[in-house]
Symmetry: C2
Subunit: 463 residues, 2 copies
């Protein structure tokens, strides 16, 4: 079937037809194509045949219709910050750059909703929302596009309190594989009207449709934000503090772990002088009274978990200073070894297994002599390691892949997942069957039914 | 296609084969069959050909495999409290009674999760959780089964704070149309591992698979619960109080509207002496300090919305007394007209349009001389009317259906949905296209792909 589909692809003809309509908005230069396959990872760059800058849903619909007719792959591109090769074009095709579709369509502050085009980034959205007293909380670190965040089911630091993209997309519009644009739901806060196509498209990584508009839930900007950090003798102690915080029901807004290697990297990169020990960064949102109460409770928990040097503040500037190491963590990690690429893992386990999983992973890193700082959204049981490798060294790459495999299997063995928030893309396909077994067959059936010619971001999630 | 499928059904043969395995657990008596199609609505009773009491997932898998071979419809039955004909068997077939699969499989208090069989009811589950300090918050009113609640994407009074079934099912097991049981996800709190089959099955009304196990999120039982009620001169004022409560960001746990007709019914049914005016019932969950703060803020809002007689208490017994009218609302409504059946509507609109929608609906009821008390989960923009009708009077039925149609179209016209929490079943099919247009085609495509012989609860959602 796959071979038949591939032989049915006429990318060249599709590109010619598209060129007639889009003219200068269709680009085929090597650097622009490579940039649109940019994976920010160890995965090889597989550029599309062309890049089109879409201006509206009609463009997208037109592109997909032409591609459907000629079996040409379609890869939607937002901000290029995905981590599992979601933007690569292993079978060629056209990358639709959505960055020009970056408008706020309508804000309904009275309903706590906003409707946006997919190319808007989360930071740009929050700048535009500033006057409403509302904000969109999902923060995956990178200034990702909202459409891309939905497509990978992103979450990040605030998810422990506000949920993930799955919880914050109310409705969306998408161009499906036959070129038709659908709207998956209404603006009602809840609905029992048929299958949840919203949640089916969130996390589908562009493999079922191209998202062209999203209606998001907004939240009241907190009256008071208190941020802080504290140190622990071991990652296990740090994880236990996070576990107790969640089990105690403290509505922490962010709770992040950086291990001693990551802190060392941050000190060097951000010119800080933090104690080079496992460190937990926290943030509380609420009223003055409730954030004070939460900070005090958290203080008791960390004392119980051998935590020391708890510093916290409600002053925004000081808070940003305290949190700077966390904000710079990704680039700091990469700077530990200039020229190296990072293989970023994404295990997520039930919170009760977090300390075990981090501890075993830490031991694995040490035993195998890897350079791999750990950063965790520990309130959700989710943590990343960035294994820094020289891509030209096959042995290093193989070693990093073997580590990633052990970590994925470790997380799955503890009742968790190989990917908490980065998605499957190309990088995690090997573990999906092991994690979900026969369920993957039914995912494939859905894919085949909704995209019979396999043109929507082929080769992602499964291949 | 549909005709071909129907002609491919051999229900009699399937039933004979099933009888050989299940013996006394397969029943064909008229009353038991009618009871399993019980719709608690105006919809005609369409009994299945047989009822099988399942004891485990292997039973379900075996039944579905046999039914798949012979094109025999399979209708999962939980507690029989659905409201849109989800349990009817318009094409005959076998009803799988899941009420015997009612065990708690495992509680993980340290992860705030519980794994249960689908037949357990929400009340029974919460009794079993009592010692853990945790609870499962979703409360649709009836003591529904957890499997049924997932299948209809139920929500109810607590949803304004805790979300709906969509938000509280972490993972599930289901027997798919080929008889295979799958597990949709892990116990990790979040995941980006492929398509969200959990959310696809939640709300699918048994039309894609039979749910055989669910892992649910639990919440800490609140330290303090404060409950209260107050009166308003008009439903518009009452709605405005709810709207402001949400917009102000008060984390109200329940906020319910009963109109004056419903209060009158409750006074008669529950022997109360409430002022016969639109009334809002509220509940706050939190610490003593936070619930006091929330109640005080709510007091300010209702003063602003012409509310009077705000009574509230943290004493559990008194709270139950204050809330009694709300708890008895369904039966009180039916007792307004003994012998009558209720056509229950389920509109849900963006909160900013709630007052408009309730006001116009109230006027519609008055102008058409209907007897139709209004009860609303107003914090979510969701409200029900129970149109009481004599089913033998065709004129009354037609009038009620016309009202329901106007209300559905009114809600859709305001950016809302014809069904906030009851599902589509048989009763709401007419409005689904109007609400979601082409998206329904893709739902059908998924249905056809996952259930090619159309055996899983056929004739529901779409037909």
């Amino acid at each position: 079937m796959a071979a038949q589909q591939k032989s049915g692809r006429d990318v060249r003809l599709a590109t010619e037809i598209l060129k007639q309509r889009f003219g200068d908005r269709l680009l085929t230069g090597e650097s622009i194509r490579e940039q649109h396959a940019h994976t920010t990872t160890y995965l090889p760059n597989q550029p599309p045949d062309s890049v089109i800058y879409a201006e509206n849903a009609e463009d997208v619909s037109w592109i997909v219709s032409v591609c459907a007719e000629h079996g040409c792959p379609v890869i939607p591109f937002g901000a290029g910050s995905s981590l599992e090769g979601q933007l690569n074009a292993p079978e060629g095709g056209v990358s639709i750059d959505m960055s020009g579709m970056n408008q706020v369509v309508e804000v309904h502050p009275e309903d706590l909703t906003v409707t946006v085009q997919p190319g808007i980034t989360r930071k740009a959205l929050n700048v535009q929302l500033r006057d409403t007293g509302l904000f969109f909380p999902i923060d995956p670190g990178a200034d990702a596009s909202i459409g891309g965040m939905a497509s990978t089911r992103a979450s990040g630091t605030n998810a422990v309190r506000y949920g993930t993209m799955k919880d914050n997309v109310l409705s969306l519009r998408a161009v499906m594989a036959d070129g038709r644009e659908i709207r998956t739901s209404t603006r009602a806060k809840k609905s029992a009207a048929g299958y949840d196509l919203t949640r089916l498209l969130v996390g589908a990584e562009g493999s079922l449709g191209v998202i062209t508009e999203l209606t998001l839930k907004l939240h009241g900007a907190p009256e008071t934000i208190v941020g802080g950090l504290c140190n622990f003798p071991t990652v296990t102690d740090a994880c236990n503090a996070a576990i107790q915080t969640i089990q105690y029901g403290i509505p922490v807004a962010r709770i992040e772990l950086l291990d001693e290697v990551q802190i060392k990297a941050c000190n060097a990169y951000s010119k800080l002088s933090l104690a080079e020990r496992p460190t937990v960064f926290v943030e509380f949102h609420g009223t003055e009274a409730s954030t004070t109460e939460q900070s005090a409770l958290f203080g008791e928990i960390i004392a119980d978990c051998n935590g020391t040097d708890f510093q916290w503040t409600a002053n925004e500037k000081k808070r940003q200073q305290l949190w700077q190491a966390r904000h710079d963590a990704y680039w700091a990690a990469k700077s530990l070894r200039p020229g190296a690429e990072a293989l970023v893992t994404d295990a997520c386990v039930p919170i009760s297994r977090l300390a075990d999983c981090v501890e075993e992973t830490s031991a694995d890193i040490r035993e195998n002599g890897l350079l791999a700082p750990i950063v965790g959204h520990v309130g959700d049981g989710n943590f990343h390691t960035s294994v820094l490798i020289d891509l030209n060294d096959k042995h290093e790459l193989a070693q990093a892949k073997a580590f990633s495999e052990r970590l994925s299997e470790r997380a799955i063995g503890m009742g968790g997942t190989c990917t908490g928030e980065h998605g499957v893309g190309q990088g995690k396909q090997a573990y999906l069957d092991s994690e979900l077994g026969d369920a993957v067959d039914f995912m494939r059936t859905i894919k085949q039914a909704l995209d019979p010619a396999n043109i929507m971001n082929p080769g992602k999630i499964f291949s």
